[in-house]
């Protein structure tokens, strides 16, 4: 029995941004158990005030380097909603294809580079290079394919430049799309090889469950495992979906009593977002390969082991590649044409919502008659997960308190990583008291 334990992980490594874990156990009693975020605030919502609706995407894309396409899409959708702009069916599909590229890039980065070293008991992917050369090279290749795919659709791997209110500045040629489709078809065996490697060490994924509310997008018309369209749902909402304009009713940002932290809650005192949330709300809509990957890992709808979020991301990689191959067929069948896009300033307010790789993301802007931004509100997925991480800590630590300090520390770090947090995204900073 451990009477005393003092864990202070100052800046969890292999996550995007800065987060700390603090555990103090005195005579077997947990005195302090906190997930803290000391990231330098950057004040995006204040900085966009006075800027033109045309420049919003360029600024807010910089909230996050890993999910910049997602922030760009959410903000562009919000601007379009505020200005009443319609996007053509073709450009809508091309944007979805662009969005998938980022999901694959981010998921392979997280599964391969950030999470996998834990499964192998290594401090980073670097020592894995000589030990599992083929596996690392396959991950690197999949990551490169996803990035080249982003380059083609977004103009850049990070911080896209083709997205403008109303459409796209430049679209790929049919030849380029055909090449991309072939690349994706050729990537399927690589994904299978990656899944086999992860499966071989899946026994190292901790067994832990906590009944959780999962929030994600849900699209019914047509029914789609969606990352881009639809309304907001949760497993507590009896299958109903709220229009995205109602996102404030979902996030309900609140101040937490013991730490005065701004967290989010909907039906319970916390909720989780991300790949596992999407899976739990939409699993039956996965593609054939996505379902097969879920079966391979025994991942079933209703899973409430947060560590399985990494597996859900891997499942989504299969789904994304398969549906993208089909989406390119749809685009090529109709033929591509560069559409002229125009827009003009107008007063109004609009919301935009998409799924970031790490969970649902909300952007909201108000513009004056000159198209200048007067107010902005952004609610990012990692902030929506902070309360869930804390609640997981509170259930997990008593269950493993008799394990060694190193084991407890590793399991807590792995738990944080499994949420794939993107802390520099945290535009609403947590209010945490730091005790060292």
């Amino acid at each position: 029995m451990h009477k005393n334990m003092n864990i202070n992980v100052h800046h969890v490594t292999r996550v995007e941004g800065h987060g700390n874990i603090v555990v103090n156990v005195n005579s077997g009693k947990i005195e302090k158990l906190q997930w803290q975020v000391p990231e330098a605030p950057r004040f995006f919502e204040a900085m966009v005030r006075g800027r033109s609706y045309q420049d919003i995407q360029t600024i807010v894309s910089r909230i996050c380097g890993i999910c910049s396409i997602t922030h760009s899409l959410a903000s562009t959708k919000a601007v379009e909603s505020a200005l009443g702009l319609e996007v053509s069916e073709q450009d809508d599909k091309l944007r979805i294809l662009m969005h998938y590229s980022e999901q694959l890039q981010s998921h392979t980065l997280h599964v391969g580079y950030l999470a996998a070293p834990d499964f192998f008991g290594e401090p980073s992917v670097v020592p894995l290079v000589p030990k599992a050369t083929d596996a690392v090279k396959t991950i690197v290749k999949a990551h490169r394919i996803a990035n080249e795919w982003s380059d083609l659709l977004a103009g850049r791997t990070t911080h896209p430049v083709t997205l403008i209110p109303g459409g796209l500045t430049k679209i790929p040629t049919e030849q380029q799309l055909r090449q991309l489709q072939q690349t994706l078809k050729d990537a399927v065996p690589d994904l299978k090889a990656i899944a086999e490697v992860v499966l071989s060490v899946a026994g190292n994924i901790p067994q832990f469950e906590r009944d959780t509310e999962y929030v994600s997008l849900k699209q019914t018309d047509p029914p789609t495992y969606t990352f881009y369209h639809g309304g907001i749902t949760s497993n507590d909402n009896k299958g109903a979906a709220l229009p995205i304009e109602k996102w404030h009713d979902v996030a309900n940002e609140y101040v937490c009593e013991q730490s005065t932290a701004k967290w989010t809650k909907w039906h319970r005192d916390s909720y989780a977002v991300g790949a596992l949330a999407r899976f739990n709300n939409n699993a039956e809509l996965l593609s054939t390969m996505g379902k097969a990957a879920a079966d391979m890992f025994g991942l079933k709808k209703g899973c409430c082991n947060p560590y399985m979020n990494t597996v859900a991301q891997l499942v989504e990689c299969f789904h994304i590649v398969e549906v993208s191959i089909n989406l390119i067929d749809e685009l090529l069948t109709k033929g591509l044409k560069q559409e002229k896009v125009t827009s003009s300033p107008k007063a109004g307010r609009g919301s935009g919502c998409v799924e970031a790789p790490r969970g649902i993301l909300f952007h909201d802007y108000e513009f004056d008659k000159n198209g200048l931004c007067t107010a902005a509100d952004i609610c990012i997925p990692t902030n929506q997960n902070h309360a869930s991480i804390q609640k997981d800590f509170e259930k997990l630590v008593p269950e493993i308190i008799n394990e060694s300090e190193d084991s407890v520390r590793l399991k807590l770090e792995m738990l944080v990583r499994s949420y794939d947090p993107c802390i520099s995204c945290s535009t609403h900073m947590l209010d945490v008291k730091f005790v060292k």
Binding site: R49, V125, T158, T162, T260, S424, H428
Partner: protein, 249 residues
């Protein structure tokens, strides 16, 4: 000769420039072979206080961060600023156009006065410590990153373009975006990106900072030719150019 020890750190930023290092993909595996990466929080669990080269992403936005960068500077033989937040302050400097108390209140409301939410004017790295090399861009261009790192490893000084983006854009044969009604900063921004954004039909918004001695008169001529006001140009220049210091590499 022992391998140079490299450490990568970040301050206020989106970590997108570090991601470009990861995005070197297969090439990164070769690079890791040639150097000894001793600390890189985003990708590794190891930490070290001994390094030859410090690569820094992000802007300095808090007094405690000034102290941290000074310590890093004192330990490093060479300090490289990575990306716009570090080289020119980037979008983080938009904050400097407002009253800071108002900025905090806008984002944090009633909690704005809590001490850990304190913020100061955004600074580029060279406003706090000596910077030896700058890798420009938001995000950086990964080819330029390897070029600069390779040059340093070979003991050479890297060549950074002294001409504006327009030169690279014209060489690519792109139609001028001004003719399409876009306010493009190509005439005054440092080249080296291969005019990537204009090549995709999107105006240059200045992420690499102003070129040395920008041709201000030519910029005025363009504004007049297209019947625009300098306010429109200034509004675009604010995005990455708010209170920008000279960017000489």
């Amino acid at each position: 000769m022992s391998k140079p020890r490299i450490a990568i750190f970040d301050f206020a930023c989106c970590e997108g420039c570090q991601l470009q290092i990861v995005n070197l993909e297969e090439e990164l595996l070769d690079l890791i072979d040639a150097v000894d990466v001793v600390e890189w929080r985003e990708a590794m669990s190891e930490q070290s206080h001994e390094y030859d080269i410090a690569i820094i992403e992000g802007s300095i936005t808090r007094p405690e961060d000034e102290k941290r960068i000074e310590v890093i500077r004192s330990r490093a033989k060479i300090l490289i600023a990575l990306g716009a937040c570090a080289t020119i302050g980037g979008v983080n400097k938009l904050k400097n156009n407002f009253d800071l108390a108002d900025v905090k209140k806008c984002v944090y409301g009633k909690s704005a006065d809590m001490p850990h939410l304190d913020t100061a004017l955004t600074k580029a790295l060279d406003e706090v410590v000596k910077v030896d090399y700058k890798i420009h861009g938001c995000p950086i261009d990964r080819k330029e990153f390897t070029y600069i790192v390779r040059s340093l490893l070979m003991g050479k000084t890297p060549d950074i373009p002294l001409y504006p983006v327009c030169v690279e854009c014209k060489a690519k044969g792109n139609p001028c975006l001004w003719d399409e009604g876009q306010v493009c900063l190509g005439p005054i921004i440092r080249a080296g990106c291969g005019a990537r954004c204009p090549s995709f039909g999107f105006r240059c918004f200045g992420c690499r900072g102003y070129v040395d001695n920008p041709n201000v008169n030519a910029a005025k001529d363009i504004i007049e030719k297209y019947g625009l006001t300098t306010d429109v140009l200034k509004s675009k220049m604010l995005l990455f150019g708010s209170m920008q210091e000279p960017t000489n590499a």
